[in-house]
Amino acid sequence: MLNSVLFLVILFLSLLVFFIPGKFKYHFTLALLACGVLLTSMWSVRMLAGTEQLIEIPLFVPTAGSAFILIIDRLAAFFIIVVNITVIVGFLYARGYLAPYMKSKNSLRFSIHYFSYLWLWLSMLMVVMMRDGLSFLIVWEIMALSSFFLVIFDAEERSILKTGISYLIQMHVGMLFILIAFLIVEKTTGRMSFDALGEYFSGHRNLPLFLLFFIGFAIKAGFIPLHTWLPEAHPAAPSHVSGVMSGVMIKMGIYGILRVLMAMQSDLLVTGIIILVVSLISGVMGVMMAIVQHDLKRLLAYHSIENIGIIGTGIGLGMIGLAQNNPALTLLGFAGGLLHVLNHSLFKSLLFFNAGSVYQATHTRNIEQLGGLMKRMPYTAILFLTGSLAICGLPPFNGFISEYLIYMGMFNSLSGATLYNSIIILGSIVGLSLIGGLAIFCFTKAFGIVFLGEPRSDKANHAEEVTRGMIIPQLLTVALILVIGLASPLIVKPVFDIVVKTFAINDPVLISGAFTANLSQISIMGGVFVLVLVTLLVYRKYHLRRRLVEKGPTWGCGYTAGTSRQQYTATSFAYNYNHIAKPVLQTTKEMDEIKEEEIFPRERSFISHSEDIFKKLLIDRPLDWFAGLLKRIAVMQTGQIQHYILYAFVFMLLVFLLSLLNII
């Protein structure tokens, strides 16, 4: 009772944001956020630590059949924690990030922004806690709307408004699929709820309904080819919002998929394979397209697609495990996927926040204009480096742990697999290892070009470190990344527990946590690594103190007048790669060749551009075709009243004739 009252109070207090004077608006929102985070995190901790099956918190009148009821199970509890961490860090970071906008935007704009932020957070919490179909769709819609308002914060720029609207439309296409799926369930079972899914699945084919849900949720999650909103919306949004959207909001799609999978009873194998294949394509294509991006935030957005692919790979493997009654694969697959949800929310939000800091300091997101920022913004650089290492899945950071779990699921089930499965699993191993390699390629480029070397423009040259208020909140994220990376059993055990209980795994060896012994070994190795590294560095310092250490220019192979413009750029770094990946990426170059008679070549420009092939085929082409069709029909719009009367007359005549012939 107390719980529901408290939650309702938070819901209603959020309206007060509009009436608080501008000075205290931020603090009020923060206080509200903190209270809510504490409250809901307490619920999840109670759920995860206790033995209860469900916690039910009825909102409004607690009568039987009341629709607005919050139900927390282990899966929901996990997602609540993921949401809360990123949202609170994001808001703490936002204070510094929004400071330059304080002058240019009025108080109402900020009210709307804070209000939307609060409701994005509240709606995400409610999405994972609502089981009833109608209330789920309502909060799902609130989530889309509030994030839309957050994306268009900078709506003075027309392109941002356009992106926002395109985002809103694509979200509603996704919602349509979910709505249809729910309606089908309601038609047969009489209930429109996730709880009714089991009943539906026991009596009908599972795959068609799953596909409907999958398409709906996959648009939110950003699986290729349904990802087209993602690389547009993330760069347009303010950075703390992109961090939250990419870190946690797209995970709501994953949550939805998991919720449906939990209820499925047949067609498990084919479902698993569909998820696996889509995920691997998303993973590989996502990172392949990320490499050629020049916009730092766009690059990160494509990486979200890659990471959703890794999460999906885990989930797909888990499903295959369920289908074949292979509890080890089920456990490792789902646990790897779930842990990667948490991991990705940490390092991706971290990366977006620091991309935001870079943007604030240099006013550009174009990688080609940056460089040398590590000297000017050392803290931001180290935070970004941590995020980069983690996202590449390198030890001893957290990304490695989740990728390791997924790898282990695959390697462990290889020896017992059938022909068909071993080929699928080997394909996934190749996919995952390729994703890892490509991610390293991408982030050495992103980090190296943005933060290292000499500044490539004045903007980068005059960059200054962002305020401490923006750096400190991120240390929480870094701490979590290191804890998961270096003390993985601590976090993996609860995740295993969630999977064991959610998917009813009853293999005693797995439940006893035998597998975590391996993770302890990894932790020891992490410790050894840190120890060896520190020893080497300390000795290095001692050693160099007794030697002559000089400073000089970079070795230019005999050429002494090099400028910063001669450095390797992001484009040239990716040139070799581009050459191989041409069939997939369709990079185009625009330049005029130097002709033979040109003795003194004039100034010329070079533009290279890579298109998102899926966006071109799925959105642009059909839209162009449709617009063309409408244009042709518009011939009828002559503007002369006689013609319009004629149309009406022809229409009536047609109706008359058709009814005369008994056709209508």
Binding site: G372, M374, K375, C392, G393, L394, P395, F400, E403, Y404, Y407, M408, M410, F411, N412, L414, S415, S422, I425, L426, I429, L434, G436, G437, I440, F441, T444, F447, G448, L452, G453, A517, N518, Q521, I522, I524, M525, F529, V532, L533, L536, R540, H543, L544, R547, L548, E550, K551, G552, P553, T554, W555, C557, G562, Y568, S572, A574, N576, Y577, I580
Partner: protein, 303 residues
């Protein structure tokens, strides 16, 4: 423990043997067996010059890379002794540790702001990315063959599974590991450490700006990495159950053989054209696929 010590010992003479092989094959008198060691001692005595462009990354990168290689050494078994830190799936950590070292080498090259080093970094990033699948397919083949997922157990079970076809994997495995080692250590046919033009280098150009202590660390790392791969190859050839003293002798024989193979390859073969390298490296993955298919046939999965 024994494995760790043996790798360190092997690292003392493997690079020397490569040098000797090359000089004998080309009819030169050449440097002595321990010249690489003397080089390191000289480097340790020297001071350092750091570019003004560089910063923290450039300073810590060699130490990070060496630390990853030392940690990777802890994962390899020797004879019947397990590795120092064996666990299920340790080869995933092995590959990712080495990748961490690569990551730092690459960004350290970008830290100098030199276009030559950027070029090397770009190439290194691309080639080490392409070689990753080959390693994983090969290890997947072994995991499927033995039913285990740890270096220590895989190599222990390699020769006792009673499979008559074990030689096939042994040979394919040895071949692939040698090739992967060539790519990872930047040797011919992918890269030529003795080339004379910065434009044609990969790894060497990335470390152009290093001097003194840091350069010594890089060299030590390279030598250890050779011995590391030599040890992997050794584990594929010699059954784990044999007498340990015999094994120790065989270990050095295999390492020497590995070094001679590298030396001979470098003497009689030219480096690939740079744009042919991706094809060459992807071929390794294809060969690993073949090994995998063979095992599918042998385990009666593929009739």
């Amino acid at each position: 423990m024994a494995g760790f010590v043996l790798i360190v010992v092997a690292a003392f003479f493997v690079p020397g043997i490569i040098l000797r092989t090359k000089s004998i094959a080309s009819g030169r008198k050449g440097p002595g067996l321990f010249q690489p060691l003397k080089d390191i001692i000289v480097l340790l005595k020297k001071g350092s010059v750091f570019s003004t462009t560089t910063g923290l990354i450039f300073q810590i990168a060699p130490a990070v890379t060496l630390a990853t290689i030392i940690c990777a050494m802890l994962l390899l078994p020797f004879a019947e002794q397990k590795a120092m830190l064996p666990f299920e799936g340790d080869f995933v950590l092995f590959a990712y540790l080495l990748a961490l070292g690569k990551f730092f080498t690459i960004i350290a090259a970008l830290d100098t702001g030199s276009s030559f080093e950027g070029m090397g970094a770009s190439r290194e990033a691309l080639f080490s990315m392409l070689v990753e699948p080959a390693f994983f397919i090969l290890l997947a083949t072994f995991a499927m063959f033995t039913g285990y997922t740890s270096f220590s157990v895989i190599f222990n079970q390699f020769f006792v599974t009673g499979n008559d076809y074990v030689m096939i994997y042994s040979i394919i495995g040895v071949y692939l590991f040698i090739q992967i080692a060539m790519v990872e250590n930047s040797r011919i046919p992918v890269d030529d450490p003795k080339t004379h033009l910065e434009l044609t280098m990969i790894h060497e150009v990335m470390i152009l700006d290093y001097s003194g202590f840091d350069k010594a660390l890089i060299h030590i790392g390279t030598y250890l990495k050779f011995a590391l791969y030599g040890s992997l190859i050794y584990n594929l050839i010699v059954p784990a159950g044999w007498n340990i003293f015999l094994q120790a002798g065989l270990f050095f024989t295999v390492q020497a053989f590995f070094a001679i193979v590298i030396g001979l390859t470098e003497s009689f073969r030219a480096r690939n054209k740079m744009n042919k390298n991706p094809k060459f490296i992807l071929t390794l993955s294809a060969i690993a696929w073949i090994a995998f298919t063979v095992i599918l046939i042998l385990t009666d999965k593929l009739a």
